[in-house]
C-alpha cells in the first residue's frame, strides 16, 4: 500500500474543504471497497478524508412524505429499518441481496453507490484497463467478459456497476443530495451513474469535490407489488449476472405505474421509462409483460461469454413482474 495522509472531517463543509485542499484525495467511510483497491494498488489516493464522524447517519421523514437516508447510514441499518421495510421493501430486498452480512454492517449507503466495478481487469494492474488507466485499452472486450455489460457499453469499456442497492433505488426514482464547493444540489439517481462512452474512468457525474450527503426516497414505495430478483452464480456473496428491481401499482388488476430497473447489464442501473410506460393501464399478465421485457433488451449486444444475459434478462423481467403482480402460474 502506498503512503497517504489522513484527516478526519468534523462536518460536511470541512470535508469539502479538505478534499479540495489535497490533491488526489478521496473520502473514506466504510472502506469496504476503497481499502481493498488501495491494497492491490488499483486506487492510489495520496490523501484520505475520513467522513465517518459527519452527522449523516440518520433516516428521517421528508416533508413530501418520503424518507431521507443519511449518506453514512449503513446498508444493514437501512435494510432493517422499520420504515424502509414497511414502505420500501424493494430497497430492503435489494440491499440484502448484495454482499455479505459483515460487509453490509460496515458499508454505507453513499459508499454503496460509489463502489467500483468488479471487472477482473480493473482489479489487476498487470492488465490493460481504460477505467483504471485511461488509454491502455479494454482487455475485457476480447478477454473474459461473462460478467460484463450487454447494454450501454462502449468500445472503451464494457464494465458493469456492481451495486444491488443502486438498482433498487433506480426503480424507486430516488434522488441524490450532494454538497460541493458551489453549494448543494440534487440529482435524480438516473443521473448519478453514467455510461462509459470514451471516459470510462468516470463512474458518476459527481463533481470532483462533491460529497453525497443523503439519498431521498419519494413517497411512492411500491410496497404492495414489488420484487428484487437476482440471478448469480451462488446463493450469496456473488455479484448479479442479471438482477431486476420491479415495482408495480395495481388497482383492480390494472397497472397504474410500473418501474423496472436492471442490474448487472450496464455501467449503471438500466431503466427504460418508455418501456415501463407500455404497461400503464394494462392488465397485469404474462402476455403484457413479455413485450416490455423485449423492449428492455432492445439493442442489447453481448460478447463472447455473456450473450446469455440478453435472454436471461428477458426471462427475469417477466418473472419479476409476475412475482410482483402476485400472479401464479
Amino acid at each position: 500500500m502506498r503512503p497517504f495522509t489522513y484527516t478526519r472531517a468534523k462536518d460536511v463543509a470541512a470535508a469539502v474543504t479538505d478534499i479540495r485542499a489535497n490533491s488526489e484525495a478521496r473520502f473514506i467511510a466504510g472502506g469496504t471497497n476503497l481499502l481493498d483497491l488501495m491494497k492491490i494498488d488499483v486506487m492510489k489516493p495520496r490523501h484520505l478524508v475520513d467522513i465517518t464522524r459527519l452527522a449523516l447517519d440518520t433516516i428521517e421523514e421528508t416533508d413530501e412524505g418520503g424518507l431521507r437516508l443519511g449518506a453514512l447510514v449503513t446498508n444493514a441499518d437501512t435494510a432493517y429499518h422499520e420504515q424502509v421495510e414497511k414502505r420500501y421493501p424493494l430497497l430492503s430486498h435489494a440491499i440484502l441481496a448484495g454482499a455479505t452480512a459483515q460487509l453490509r454492517n460496515k458499508a454505507t449507503d453513499a459508499g454503496n453507490l460509489l463502489q467500483r466495478t468488479r471487472c477482473y481487469y480493473f482489479y489487476d494492474t498487470d492488465t490493460a484497463c481504460n477505467k483504471r488507466e485511461p488509454g491502455t485499452g479494454c482487455s475485457a472486450i476480447s478477454g473474459y467478459n461473462r460478467n460484463h455489460a450487454i447494454l450501454g457499453h462502449s468500445e472503451h469499456c464494457i464494465a458493469t456497476h456492481p451495486s444491488d442497492m443502486a438498482v433498487g433505488l433506480a426503480a424507486l426514482d430516488a434522488r441524490i443530495l450532494v454538497t460541493g464547493p458551489q453549494g448543494e444540489r440534487m440529482l435524480p439517481i438516473s443521473d448519478l451513474h453514467r455510461l462509459p462512452g470514451n471516459t470510462p474512468e468516470k463512474d458518476t457525474n459527481l463533481g470532483e469535490n462533491e460529497i453525497i450527503t443523503a439519498i431521498e426516497l419519494p413517497p411512492q414505495g411500491f410496497a404492495q407489488h414489488f420484487t428484487y430478483l437476482k440471478n448469480r452464480d451462488r446463493a450469496s456473496y456473488a455479484f448479479a449476472l442479471v438482477s431486476v428491481a420491479a415495482g408495480l401499482e395495481i388497482e383492480g388488476g390494472v397497472i397504474r405505474e410500473a418501474r423496472i430497473a436492471l442490474g448487472g447489464v450496464a455501467h449503471k442501473p438500466w431503466r427504460r421509462p418508455e418501456a415501463e410506460a407500455m404497461l400503464r393501464g394494462k392488465k397485469a399478465s404474462r402476455e403484457n409483460f413479455q413485450p416490455v421485457a423485449d423492449a428492455y433488451v432492445q439493442g442489447a449486444k453481448g460478447f463472447e461469454h455473456n450473450t446469455f444475459k440478453i435472454e436471461l434478462a428477458r426471462r427475469s423481467i417477466v418473472r419479476a413482474l409476475m412475482t410482483a403482480a402476485k400472479i401464479e402460474e
Binding site: 498487470d126 492488465t127 478477454g143 451462488r234 446463493a235 436471461l312 401464479e328
Partner: protein, 739 residues
C-alpha cells in the same frame, strides 16, 4: 479389549486451541528482529526479463534488499536438488534462477523490509522490463499435440484388455461424449506462508505451511546446501491445504534465501492473488465411449484423458483407472495424455484424478443407463466390480452394495420417476441423481515414538501433519486405546522435522500409515511396561506373556484376572524410572499386495432447477461411505461434509478463469473465485456403512480425506439431467448452460 476411545465421536483435542487463537500458523510465530518479504510476480506468461529496476524501492529507508535473479544467492545446479517428495517427473521450477519467465505471475523478485507495509509499498515501485515471447495457454490449441509422458506420476495406463473397439461396434447401446472441467485452485483459507527464524549460528528454524515438515526440510537442504541439523521445519497447524501444501511453495524458498543472505529472520506470506500463481487442479478433457448390451451389461469402455501440465514438469494423476476399479467390463481401453501449456505445474487437489475421472465416468455411465432404459442405480449394480480389473486382484473389502442399500433407503430413491423432467414443483424442475466412487486406501511406511512419564502422561510423536482433518485427535485416540489411557492423558505431537519420519500428509493415507505406527509403538511400549513390571520384586506378572495382559483404565492387569493389576505409573515409580520410551517403524504388510484396497461411496442428490432462469439448488445430498473402521464419527463426518460441500462447488461454481491474451488466471480472489457459501448447502446426510477390513492396515481404517468428494459432482450433474433433460458435460454447471 473394549473400545473406549476409538469409534467414539470425540471432540477435536486441538479444538480449544484453535477457537481461542492459541493454535499458531506459519505466519503467526513471533520471532525477534523479524523482517518482511513481499514477492513481485511477472506480468507476462513467457519471455525474458530485460531489466529489473529496484532503485526506487531501495531508496526507501527500511528496505533491506530486493532479491532478483541477478543478485540471488548461489543455488544448486541439478534438478534433483529441487525435487521435493511430491515432484512429478521433469525439471522443477526454480525461483529467481535466471531471467526466463515460464508462466504468468511467476515470482521474479523479493522485496525485504523492516515492516510488511513498507515491503508492500516498495514492491509496487519495482519496475520490470520484459522481452515478451508468445505464450500458449489455450488448451484446445495444444490438445492436438497431447503426448504420453516418458514417465507417469500416476498409474501408467494399463494395456487394453478384450477387444474394446469391436465390442463397442457390436453393442446394442453406446454413447461417446466428452467431459471437461476447468483448472481449479485449492484456495485454503490460510495463505501460504513461511517464517524463518535466523538462529544466529547458521541454523534456521522454519515455520512453514506444508503437509509434511520433512518435505520442506529436504527441499531447503537440497537447494541451499544445508545440513539436516541446520534446518528444522515446524508446521504444527495448517489452515487447510487440500494438496496445495504437498509441495514446498515459493514463499519458502524466498524466505529462506533472504534469511541466509541477510542473516536476519524473514517472513513471507503470499497474498490471495498469489495463491493463483502456483499449482492447481489441471484442466482435463475426457472422451468416453461406452457400450452396453440390450439388457444393460457393460460391454466396452474406451476412456481417454487429456490433462493440462506445465512445459517443465509432467504432472499426471489417476484419471482413467476408475472404469477398471468401479465396473466389470471385458473390453477396456484406457489412455492418458498430457497437454503442455505455459502455466505452472498442476498439483494434487483433493482426490486428484479421482474427482476428475469419476466425474466423467459417472456421467457417462448415467447417460448409458438412460439409453438402456434402466434405473441408474440398478444399472450400476448390474455392472458392479467384484474385483479390481486394473490390478487384477480382489478387494480387501468392498461394502459398496451396502452403501447403495442404505443410501437409497435414506434418500427415498424408490419413489423416483425414471423419465427426465417428470418431477416438478411450480417453476422448479426436480431431479434425482446418483453416482458412486472409490479412493485408494494406502498404507505408507511411517515411524513414531512414545514416551510415558511418571505422571502418567503419554506423549506420542511423528512428523506427520494435521491440515484440519483431525490427525491430532485420531492419533491420540489410537494411542489412548492401545495403552488403556484416558484421552486427556495422551498428547500427540506432529509437524516437526525432528520427529520420527512420516509420509506427506495426503492421499488419505495418514490415518492408515501414521495410525499403524502409533499403534505399533504403543504396543511396544506396552511390552516394555510388562518387562519392567516383571522386574518388580514379587511381581505377579513374572512369566506372563504380553497376550495375557490387558491395558485398561491406566492400569495393566491379567486378562483372566483383572484384580491382578498394577498402575502404569506404579511400574515406573517402583523401578525408579522417570520415563519409559519406545520407537517403532511400521510398514505395509506383504499380504496387502495380494489385494486391491479402496474406500467406496454412493451419493444421492436432489436438485431443484428453475426452468426459466437456470438457477440450481442442491436441496438434498445423502452420502453413504464404506471407509473401513471409523475411528472418530465426528471428525469423520466433518471430512465427508467438507467433501460434499466441495463437490457442490466443483459441480456448479469453481472455475479458474484463464485469460489467453495474458496467459493469466484472472479471478484471483474469493469474491470472484466461487466456492460454496452456507446458502448453497442444504440438507446433507452422511452414512458410514459397517466395513471390516483386516488386510488394509492394522487399524482397519481406510482414510476419509478424499472419498467424500469424488461422487458428488457427477451425482449433481446426473440430477440436473434428470430434472431438465439437459446433459451438461463441462463444469461448472452455471445457469447460462441451462437457460
Amino acid at each position: 479389549m473394549a473400545s473406549e476411545v476409538i469409534g467414539k465421536p470425540k471432540n477435536r483435542v486441538d479444538g480449544r486451541k484453535k477457537v481461542t487463537g492459541q493454535a499458531r500458523y506459519a505466519a503467526e510465530f513471533s520471532v525477534p528482529d523479524l523482517t518482511y518479504g513481499v514477492v513481485v510476480n511477472s506480468a507476462i506468461a513467457r519471455g525474458t526479463i530485460k531489466s529489473i529496476d529496484a532503485s526506487e524501492a531501495l531508496k526507501l529507508e527500511g528496505v533491506l534488499q530486493v532479491f532478483t535473479h541477478e543478485n540471488r544467492t548461489k543455488l544448486a545446479y541439478y534438478d534433483k536438488s529441487y525435487q521435493d517428495m511430491d515432484a512429478p517427473p521433469g525439471s522443477p521450477f526454480r525461483p529467481l534462477y535466471n531471467n526466463q519467465v515460464q508462466f504468468n505471475m511467476q515470482p521474479i523478485a523479493l522485496v525485504v523490509a523492516e515492516t510488511y507495509e513498507l515491503a508492500l509499498y516498495a514492491a509496487a515501485l519495482v519496475k520490470v522490463e520484459y522481452e515478451q515471447a508468445p505464450h500458449e495457454t489455450k488448451f484446445a490449441a495444444q490438445r492436438p499435440y497431447a503426448y504420453e509422458p516418458e514417465e507417469y506420476k500416476s498409474t501408467p495406463p494399463p494395456e487394453p484388455w478384450g477387444s474394446p473397439e469391436e465390442a463397442l461396434k457390436n453393442a446394442a447401446h453406446t454413447i461417446t461424449e466428452e467431459y471437461a472441467h476447468p483448472s481449479q485452485h485449492h484456495n485454503p483459507i490460510e495463505m501460504h506462508a513461511s517464517t524463518v527464524h535466523w538462529e544466529g549460528d547458521g541454523r534456521i528454524t522454519v515455520y512453514d505451511k506444508i503437509q509434511g515438515a520433512l518435505n520442506s526440510q529436504k527441499y531447503v537442504m537440497g537447494i541451499f546446501g544445508l545440513k539436516e541439523e541446520e534446518v528444522r521445519v515446524l508446521s504444527p497447524f495448517v489452515g487447510g491445504a487440500f494438496g496445495s501444501g504437498l509441495r514446498p511453495q515459493y514463499q519458502l524458498f524466498m524466505a529462506v534465501m533472504a534469511a541466509l543472505e541477510l542473516k536476519r529472520s524473514v517472513r513471507v506470506v503470499l497474498t490471495r492473488p498469489q495463491m493463483f500463481s502456483f499449482g492447481h487442479r489441471p484442466k482435463t478433457v475426457q472422451r468416453l465411449s461406452l457400450g452396453a448390451s440390450a439388457d444393460g451389461k457393460l460391454q466396452a469402455v474406451i476412456h481417454e484423458a487429456y490433462a493440462e501440465t506445465s512445459r517443465f514438469e509432467d504432472y499426471s494423476e489417476d484419471v482413467i483407472i476408475w472404469p477398471g476399479v468401479l465396473y466389470n467390463c471385458d473390453n477396456v481401453k484406457l489412455s492418458h495424455k498430457l497437454v503442455g501449456l505455459d502455466v505452472y505445474t498442476p498439483l494434487d487437489m483433493r482426490a486428484p484424478g479421482g474427482t476428475t475421472g469419476i466425474f466423467a465416468l459417472e456421467c457417462a455411465i448415467d447417460e448409458l443407463s438412460y439409453k438402456v432404459g434402466m434405473d441408474p442405480m440398478e444399472f450400476r449394480l448390474k455392472n458392479y466390480a467384484e474385483k479390481d480389473q486394473i490390478e487384477d486382484k480382489p478387494f480387501s473389502s468392498k461394502e459398496l452394495r451396502e452403501c447403495y442399500r442404505q443410501g437409497a433407503e435414506k434418500f427415498g430413491w424408490k419413489n423416483r420417476k425414471q423419465a427426465p423432467r417428470s418431477m416438478r414443483e411450480g417453476h422448479q424442475l426436480i431431479g434425482w441423481g446418483v453416482a458412486n466412487g472409490a479412493w485408494e486406501a494406502t498404507q505408507k511406511p511411517a515411524s513414531a515414538k512414545a514416551v510415558l512419564a511418571l505422571n502418567g502422561q503419554l506423549t506420542v510423536s511423528s512428523a506427520t501433519g494435521d491440515i484440519g482433518t483431525g490427525t491430532y485427535t485420531i492419533m491420540s485416540q489410537i494411542a489412548a486405546e492401545s495403552l488403556g489411557l484416558a484421552l486427556d492423558k495422551v498428547e500427540f505431537k506432529l509437524g516437526d522435522s525432528s520427529l520420527p519420519k512420516a509420509p506427506l500428509e495426503g492421499g488419505s493415507w495418514t490415518a492408515s500409515s501414521v495410525g499403524s505406527a502409533v499403534k505399533k509403538v504403543c504396543n511396544k511400549l506396552g511390552e516394555k511396561l510388562l518387562e519392567l513390571a516383571q522386574e518388580i520384586e514379587g511381581s505377579p506378572f513374572k512369566n506372563v506373556k504380553i497376550e495375557e495382559v490387558v491395558f485398561e483404565g491406566g492400569r495393566m492387569h491379567l486378562k483372566n484376572n483383572s484384580s491382578t493389576a498394577i498402575a502404569l505409573t506404579e511400574i515406573l515409580s517402583r523401578n525408579k524410572t522417570e520415563s519409559l520410551q519406545a520407537e517403532a517403524d511400521s510398514e505395509p504388510s506383504d499380504e496387502q499386495e495380494n489385494y486391491s484396497r479402496y474406500s467406496h461411496s454412493a451419493v444421492f442428490v436432489e436438485v431443484k432447477v428453475d426452468e426459466d432462469l437456470g438457477t440450481v439448488k442442491v436441496t438434498r445430498v445423502v452420502s453413504a461411505i464404506a471407509g473401513g473402521r471409523i475411528l472418530n464419527p465426528k471428525t469423520a463426518r466433518s471430512q465427508i461434509l467438507g467433501g460434499i460441500v466441495w463437490g457442490i462447488g466443483m459441480a456448479m461454481e469453481e472455475y479458474s478463469v484463464m485469460d489467453n491474451q495474458y496467459g493469466r488466471f484472472m479471478n484471483h480472489d474469493l469474491a470472484e473465485y466461487h466456492v460454496p457459501v452456507n446458502a448453497d448447502v442444504h440438507d446433507v446426510e452422511v452414512i458410514f456403512v459397517e466395513e471390516k477390513d483386516e488386510i488394509v492396515n492394522p487399524i482397519g481404517a481406510k482414510g476419509l480425506g478424499e472419498i467424500g468428494i469424488v461422487s458428488v459432482a457427477p451425482a449433481i450433474a446426473n440430477a440436473i439431467y434428470h430434472a431438465t433433460g439437459k446433459r451438461v458435460r463441462d463444469l461448472p454447471i452455471t445457469l447460462d448452460k441451462l437457460v
